[in-house]
Symmetry: C3
Subunit: 252 residues, 3 copies
């Protein structure tokens, strides 16, 4: 069964996403169409990139991911289709598709812009039609010319410290107020954030209700949270704030 | 494959939309069920009408559109089913379905209210069951008596000016803060809005980041936007604000 | 066709829900996947329980409901699968699944936690895989050991008064600002709320635009509303506020 996912910053109320869905379902009647989200903060390419990084490989081989967070629609930026690890992705050439593009063996083409495409709505007139072609089984190469110059964004890496720790930052804050950092760990050490020192624990159950904690999140990155609460509000910090991982007193 | 879409102002968290989905899927097990939105501002029929206008004909022939923005549920207002251009729509008789009703050849029936329908929740007890009948292939005429008195809402038309321009208004503001107007154009002239004069350009790429612009949007209506920004906030104006299109100095 | 529904408090933008969807669709390619909501207030188990109560039996026999509002993920709380009235539900043992658990004949098992499951994300690593097994037709008993100690939450019942009325409270406020109470009625009497006395009417059409009213809602509970308005804002009251149903002057 052909399967497509949709990630946009359009919201749903205005009906733009529905227009895209109409194009997809008109082109591929038996399509399995999965909403990822339409609530990405408006024009926040970096937010969308981090979200896309989480889910793109969780879907079956053959899935076509549409990612339309596209502040530069109507400029000279390219429209891309990517084949990577058996999945496909279509979206603007602004780095939002980097997680798939940076995977070994990925390749990209620059999608030809159909004549008459609205310069303000490539989601409907460029990306959805390209997805339809892929979902129908058209050859990837037929969508456009190979493109080797795709914009790439990388998650900033934490810096190794002389004492064996890491200096990093808050990559994002999720709906629960958890701070997702770029510190990597195996569950040891102490996190310094907003003047607090937090021992890295294994799970929420290791602290009491309302207490701050640090743990290794579901993607291997260290997160700062409040059990039953909101760490971002408690600490008054947001995306970009500095965090440090300290090795425990010379033992590791 | 039977295909239905859903547009409501219910939000999703309370579970009302899920009740409707349960009715639909219990009645039509192989249903392809597409969320348009449940985030329409509460009881905002006009907002929903403009959204519906955008997407209803994008879906394949045979699609059944449910549109339940229904501030007068439980009054004497009729419940309608419409057949138009090969698609179906069900919803309250408050004008929200006008885009389909005004299409050439459209016809309507007044759905019989099932005995025991909750007077506060026709979405679940009237519209979803009517959609099930259409999705199962029941004859349109069997849903109720022909109805020729459907409430109609029309997008207000801009007024032609003596100098060849138009006086119009802001029909709505989308999630990006773009002002969707009722001015029609082919990409020429100057828009006057909130004391600013904006040359109509072809695309966002024609201005610099942060700059105001006017262009012809993806539905042929002139929009006012800020590249990489939010025009509604920048200009401090909202739905209903006056806008004017001026012909360029005597040249057209 | 295998059918699963999803209710979470994750929001969609961060991509966590999409990870769960990827697991489900990788495991059950022909899955019909229905979003109930991802907008439940964060960690609000009681809100989710009331929503789940509304929809779980509306879906066909065989449906697998995932309900992941799970403030105690990573503690010793059990992970449950429930079979009830022909439907299945999976979720944390915090009472959120009580509506299904309290149905006659329901039974529960404690799902075995897969080795390597992230202690912060049982939605992806415990509940979605358990749902996949049920959707593929694995025997319910094979998911884990029978569990007879599931946490139960019950909607608080209104108290019968000597005069034949009831003392109750506001269970919740929906998106329209309607106050859903635990008063039960057949459409008679007078509701006292926030110092106002409201005759119970049959439908919105029984009052004029902007007027307060009380009526029997679509689940048999008395609701307080403002026709065309927002009762919660008008009255300045929220979840938990006291309400009283008075019998009409000695006549009933």
């Amino acid at each position: 069964m052909p399967l497509a996912t949709l990630l946009t910053d359009f919201g749903t109320a205005d009906g733009y996403v529905a227009e895209m869905k109409g194009v997809l379902l008109s082109g591929v009647p038996a399509l399995q169409l999965v909403d990822v989200s339409h609530d990405v903060p408006a024009q926040d390419v970096e937010f969308a990139r981090l979200s896309f990084a989480r889910y793109w490989r969780r879907f079956p081989v053959g899935t076509v991911h549409l990612v339309v967070v596209d502040p530069d629609v109507g400029t000279a930026r390219k429209a891309l289709a990517i084949e990577s690890d058996g999945r496909f992705a279509v979206g603007p050439d602004n780095g939002v598709l980097s997680p798939a593009m940076l995977w070994p063996g990925a390749r990209a083409v620059a999608i030809e812009i159909p004549h008459g495409a609205a310069p303000t709505f490539h989601g409907r007139d460029v990306f959805a039609p390209a997805a339809v072609r892929l979902l129908r089984g058209d050859a990837f190469e037929d969508l456009g010319a190979p493109y080797s110059d795709a914009a790439l964004r990388r998650t900033p890496e934490a810096q190794r410290r002389n004492d064996g720790g890491q200096d990093g930052l808050v990559l994002g804050v999720d709906r629960f107020g958890n701070l997702i950092t770029n510190l990597t760990g195996r569950g040891e050490g102490t996190v310094e954030v907003a003047g607090k020192l937090l021992r890295v624990v294994r799970t929420y159950g290791d602290v009491t209700e309302g207490e701050l904690l640090a743990l290794v999140g579901s993607h291997g990155l260290i997160e700062v949270a409040v059990r039953g609460g909101n760490a971002s509000r408690t600490l008054g910090i947001a995306r970009g704030a500095p965090v440090t991982l300290r090795r425990d007193g010379g033992t590791a």
